[in-house]
């Protein structure tokens, strides 16, 4: 019998998968990205409905509890995503510089002609 927490979480996962499918249809998400996110949410679903399954995988990696495994993976993923985000911000910063440079030079040339 599923607990209230599990039912709510499964509903959330179904909602998330529905969102992924919609994004794929509208073209916002590529086929690889869509597959990754569907598999990710299915994985989360399995871990929520059958918590002991994470314990089994954890044992393979010599980690005591399934919850710990999930925690470790979550932290590693979060760090990675943060790093990616940081790089993206740097790239955007450089694009901004290119734009500012072009505008500044164009303005300077214009004022020289006047």
């Amino acid at each position: 019998m599923l607990s209230i927490f599990q039912i709510l979480f499964v509903c959330f996962i179904l909602f998330a998968i529905f969102g992924v499918v919609q994004k794929r249809r509208s073209g916002d998400l590529g086929p690889k990205g869509a597959l990754f996110w569907v598999l990710f949410w299915i994985g989360v679903g399995v871990a929520v409905v059958w918590p002991e399954s994470t314990a089994k995988i954890a044992h393979i990696f010599s980690i005591g509890r399934g919850v710990d495994l999930v925690l470790y993976i979550s932290i590693a993923t979060l760090f990675y995503l943060l790093f990616r985000l940081h790089i993206k911000i740097e790239q955007v910063g450089r694009d901004v510089t290119t734009l500012i440079r072009k505008m500044a030079i164009d303005d300077a040339k214009k004022s020289l002609k006047e």
């Binding site: 790089i87 790239q91 450089r94 901004v96 500012i100 500044a104 030079i105």
Partner: protein, 219 residues
């Protein structure tokens, strides 16, 4: 055409004098005003500089690159990097320019440690600079006596290769790294630096290392 590029951010106190003193030594002075909140741009223009104003503050590296793009456009054969805070001495320009031409190298890096007696703060001389030299060797693979000296002369060939993408202060490591990558010839030349303020502190140094590290992951 020998063009001086002066990156300036809130340098109203010094910029007029810097530009006025530069004029007799170069053909043209470009001041890149990096969105100053004081009247740096106005004073630079009054002093006779060609002023380019960034609409948003982007950092010293970005300002230098803006100067590079403009100098190339104006047909520069050589460019001089010269700080806007009055820390350099204009009497160093001609000897440096002559040395660059006579030795046939592409880039000249100014150095505080080659004879001229600059009043370098103690902490900088004995702690920050040795660390900086190590970082330079690590990221740029260049052995320079003076790590972050804003006095440089580049010829047109170097100007075409040295495209600065480090918007902040890490450009001072990126420039020698690009010189090394494109196998440009370089020399160091003694210049005098008069410190009006401390400049880069420990925090600035950490930011530089972070920027250099992140650069490895940016396409």
């Amino acid at each position: 055409m020998f063009i001086a590029i002066v990156p300036a951010f809130n340098e109203a106190k010094h910029i007029f004098n810097v530009v006025t003193r530069l004029h007799p030594h170069v053909d043209r002075v470009i001041v890149v005003d990096d969105c100053s909140t004081d009247n740096t741009a106005f004073l630079a223009k009054e002093a006779g500089a060609f002023v380019i104003s960034h609409g948003v503050n982007r950092g010293q590296g970005a300002s230098l690159q803006t100067g590079h793009v403009c100098a190339l456009d104006l047909g520069a054969t050589h460019v001089l990097h010269f700080d806007g805070d009055g820390q350099f001495d204009v009497s160093d320009i001609l000897p440096a320019y002559t040395k660059l031409k006579e030795s046939g190298v592409d880039v000249l890096f100014g150095s505080r440690f080659l004879g001229k007696d600059s009043n370098i703060p103690f902490l900088k001389r004995y702690l920050f600079f040795p660390i900086g030299r190590l970082i330079n060797r690590l990221f740029a693979r260049v052995r320079l006596r003076d790590v972050h000296n804003g006095f440089r002369i580049l010829n047109r060939k170097a100007l075409l290769h040295v495209v600065i993408t480090q918007d902040g202060m890490a450009h001072a490591t990126q420039i020698p790294a690009l010189v090394q990558r494109y196998k440009l010839q370089y020399i160091e030349h003694p210049v005098l630096v008069t410190y009006h303020e401390f400049g880069q502190g420990l925090r600035g140094g950490v930011t530089i290392v972070r920027d250099l590290f992140m650069d490895r992951f940016i396409r």
